[in-house]
C-alpha cells in the first residue's frame, strides 16, 4: 500500500505540470490566510491537544508529541 501511495504521488506531480499560475498571479497565494499553515502556533497547540487525547498525530508535518501525555 505504501508503494502505491508513493506512485500515485509521483504520477500526480507529472500530471500537475499543466496546473498553476505565473509568478505575478501569486498575489492571493501570498496572503497570510492562504498559507497552508497560516498560524503555526495554533497548529502546534491543536496538534498537542489532539496528540494527548487521541491515538493519531501529525499528518501535516511531523508526528508531534514528545511529551508524557500519552
Amino acid at each position: 500500500m505504501k508503494h502505491s501511495i508513493l506512485l500515485a504521488a509521483l504520477l500526480a506531480i507529472a500530471g500537475c505540470s499543466s496546473m498553476g499560475v505565473e509568478a505575478w498571479d501569486r498575489d492571493i497565494l501570498a496572503k497570510d490566510e492562504m498559507q497552508l499553515t497560516s498560524d503555526p502556533v495554533e497548529a502546534a497547540l491543536d496538534d498537542h491537544i489532539y496528540f494527548s487525547k487521541e491515538a493519531s498525530s501529525g499528518g501535516r508535518g511531523f508526528g508531534g508529541g514528545g511529551c508524557g501525555c500519552n
Partner: protein, 304 residues
C-alpha cells in the same frame, strides 16, 4: 489610459500614527503619508501633493491634447519653443541619453507600435522593427536649449521620468511648505520629505513571493531619500523559451533579454532612483553588477 479619466478626488484617513491622503494620478494610486497634527493639516498637505501631481500629469502626459508634449509631437518638423520647466526635462533627457550610451531615449515611445506585450509570443518581423526604428533616436532631434525641432513621425514621451519627477517636485514643495515629515508614494515610486518623528523611519514593505509557504516580507527603513521600482508585471513576451521583458532597448528596437522581473533602487531623489532602476533593467543579465558598481542599495527580483 486615454478615454477613461479617473476622478480627481482626494481622500483622507487616519492611520496608526500618521495621516494618509490618497488620490489617483499618472495612472497610479498615489498616497501621501504625513505626521500632521490634525486632519486639516493633512488635507492641506495632500492637496498640495495632488495638485502638483495633476499639474504635471496635465502638462506632460502624452494622452492630453493641447499640452506642450502634444504640441511637440504634432509639430511635424517645425520648431517648438518650450517653457523653462519643459526645457529642464529635455536637458535632463539629453544628458541621460549621453550618459546611458543612447539607452535612455525619450523618443523611443513609438516602438510600442511594433510590440505587443501580452504574454503571448507574437514577435514582430525584423522589417517592421527597423521601419519603426527610423523614427527613434535623440540624435535626430535638434535641441537648442530653448526650442526643439523633431522630424515628422517622431514623438517624445516623458513616461520614463515623469512619475519620479512628480514625486521629487511634490517632496520639495512639501519640504518648503512645512516641517511636517511626509512620504509621497506614487504607485511604488516614493520619496521622503523629512525623517519621521513619531517612529524610527518610514517603513516600506517589499513582498516577495515564494512557491509555497514562508513568504518573507522584507521591510526597508527609509529615513531620508527615495525608492523607485522598475518592473514588468504582466507585460512581457515569451517565444521559443526566451523571455523578453517589456523594456525595449532604443538602440536595437528589441526588448532586453534576461532582464530581472523587477528592480527597486534607493537613492537621494526619486528621479535618480528611477533612472538607475531603468538603466539597470536595460543591462539585462548585468543588472546587479551595474547597480553594485554604482554603490546604491537595491533589490533585484529574477525569474526562477
Amino acid at each position: 489610459m486615454p478615454g477613461q479619466r479617473p476622478e480627481r478626488t482626494v481622500e483622507i484617513a487616519k492611520g496608526t500614527d500618521c495621516w494618509r491622503g490618497t488620490f489617483f494620478a499618472m495612472g497610479s494610486p498615489c498616497e501621501l503619508l504625513c505626521e500632521a497634527g490634525n486632519e486639516r493639516d493633512a488635507k492641506v498637505l495632500t492637496a498640495i501633493a495632488a495638485d502638483q501631481a495633476w499639474r504635471i500629469e496635465d502638462k506632460f502626459s502624452r494622452y492630453r491634447s493641447g499640452n506642450i508634449v502634444d504640441r511637440i509631437n504634432t509639430a511635424a518638423g517645425a520648431a517648438v519653443e518650450v517653457d523653462a520647466e519643459t526645457a529642464r526635462l529635455i536637458e535632463f533627457a539629453t544628458q541621460l541619453h549621453t550618459l546611458s550610451d543612447g539607452r535612455f531615449d525619450i523618443t523611443s515611445g513609438v516602438l510600442r507600435q511594433a510590440w505587443t506585450f501580452d504574454g503571448g509570443d507574437r514577435v514582430p518581423a525584423a522589417s517592421v522593427v527597423s521601419a519603426v526604428l527610423q523614427h527613434v533616436g535623440w540624435h535626430r532631434v535638434d535641441w537648442s536649449g530653448t526650442s526643439i525641432t523633431m522630424p515628422a513621425g517622431m514623438e517624445i514621451d516623458f513616461g520614463g521620468v515623469g512619475k519620479e519627477y512628480a514625486v521629487d517636485r511634490v517632496a520639495g514643495l512639501l519640504r518648503d511648505h512645512s516641517g511636517i515629515a511626509c512620504m509621497a508614494n506614487f504607485g511604488g515610486d516614493l520619496a521622503v520629505t523629512l525623517p519621521p518623528v513619531r517612529r524610527e523611519a518610514w517603513q516600506i514593505g517589499i513582498e516577495s513571493l515564494q512557491g509555497e509557504s514562508a513568504r518573507p516580507e522584507r521591510v526597508i527603513n527609509l529615513k531620508t531619500g527615495a525608492l523607485a521600482t522598475s518592473g514588468d508585471a504582466q507585460r512581457y513576451l515569451k517565444k521559443d523559451g526566451v523571455r523578453y521583458g517589456h523594456i525595449i532597448d532604443p538602440t536595437t528596437g528589441w526588448p532586453v533579454k534576461d532582464a530581472p522581473r523587477s528592480i527597486t533602487v534607493a537613492a537621494d531623489t526619486c528621479v535618480q532612483a528611477g533612472m538607475l532602476s531603468t538603466l539597470a533593467m536595460l543591462e539585462g543579465a548585468g543588472a546587479e553588477e551595474f547597480l553594485s558598481a554604482q554603490g546604491t542599495e537595491f533589490w533585484c527580483l529574477r525569474e526562477p
